[in-house]
Symmetry: C2
Subunit: 197 residues, 2 copies
């Protein structure tokens, strides 16, 4: 599990910022370790001490972006609303976030060798991040008496897997582009899974 505790390494945010800006400009494949060092104002030796290879930087950037994505979704949920509304608005915020994040969608097709393993065979940490976030919400709603009591992790993981699947393969009958249809989908098919009281 990658730690994001930036106190452990004060150079990490600069490296990830430098790498992300280079990835956006040149793509991942054409970004060299030298370019990342230059943009993060570090010597290559210092950069290599922190990240042995480019794929480690890609993974760390992706994990940070996943944290940011979750924080953006979370900011759009009204914790005083009913559980049903929180589920519905959370799902809508997720689908709109995916639509806005066109960089990610593009990278899945243009640089699959970097992005697809990270989000499939190596996706354990990303799923854990989503699962932990959703399980914490479930616990809060259970404590407030808004959801039935049950072990939150398995349901949270079903939802995290559904979310990741919609990022990887938007094709299908689950609405990700139409906000009203996404709302209806969540109300009709996600709420039975999370078991409102």
């Amino acid at each position: 599990m990658i730690t994001l505790d930036e106190r452990e390494d004060p150079t990490q945010p600069e490296i990830l910022d430098g790498a992300l800006s280079a990835f956006l400009e040149f793509g991942i494949r054409r970004t060299s370790m030298g370019e990342v060092a230059k943009r993060s104002k570090l010597s290559p030796a210092t950069l290599y001490r922190r990240f042995a290879q480019k794929s480690d930087i890609v993974r760390a950037v992706a994990i940070r972006e996943a944290h940011r994505f979750i924080a953006d979704v979370d900011a759009r949920i009204d914790q005083d609303a009913s559980a049903e509304e929180q589920v519905v608005e959370g799902f809508v915020a997720f689908t709109q976030g995916v639509r806005r994040n066109q960089l990610l969608t593009r990278l899945l097709v243009t640089e699959p060798e970097f992005t697809l393993p990270l989000l499939t065979t190596e996706a354990g940490p990303f799923l854990a991040l989503g699962r932990d976030y959703l399980a914490a919400i479930t616990r809060r709603l259970q404590a407030e008496g808004k959801l039935q009591p049950y072990e939150p992790e398995p349901v949270a993981e079903i939802l995290a897997r559904l979310a990741l699947s919609l990022v990887l393969t938007p094709d299908g009958v689950i609405p990700v582009d139409d906000v009203d249809a996404a709302r209806t989908f969540a109300r009709t098919h996600i709420t039975p899974l999370v078991r409102l009281t």
Copy 2:
């Protein structure tokens, strides 16, 4: 959408058999079109008329394997059992099928450039296959009064996406190796989604 109607092209099963045997022996990367032609007892010209490139053969083999996988799961469901039992035994048959299918799991790691796009950004036809199969079961159980009435496709697609996600990323808290735990998981967390009567 790839058609599997073998009446349209009587050489197709031979080509897919030849390709699959070569993939199993050499891997996908090291299998040439010439090798597939030889194993399917066709001239290269005939093979190229049917499949312009190796990736088209890989896709057709994968779709046929997905059909076979679904047929194997389906054979293990007792249509006279309660809806709950059919859901539970279907999920167990799926997880055991994935465990047995070690070729697939291996190919995701050893030949990601062929397998991962097919099961992510290009996975629409695979998800549709799973969704159509599960929607047909749902319709049957609804007609028998064993499930509540609702539009089957969205729930079927949630389950198809969960299944594909467990193939791509087995890591997590959803049990795929332990049969008893898989049974308990399905009984506790899948049945609310399909809404038993």
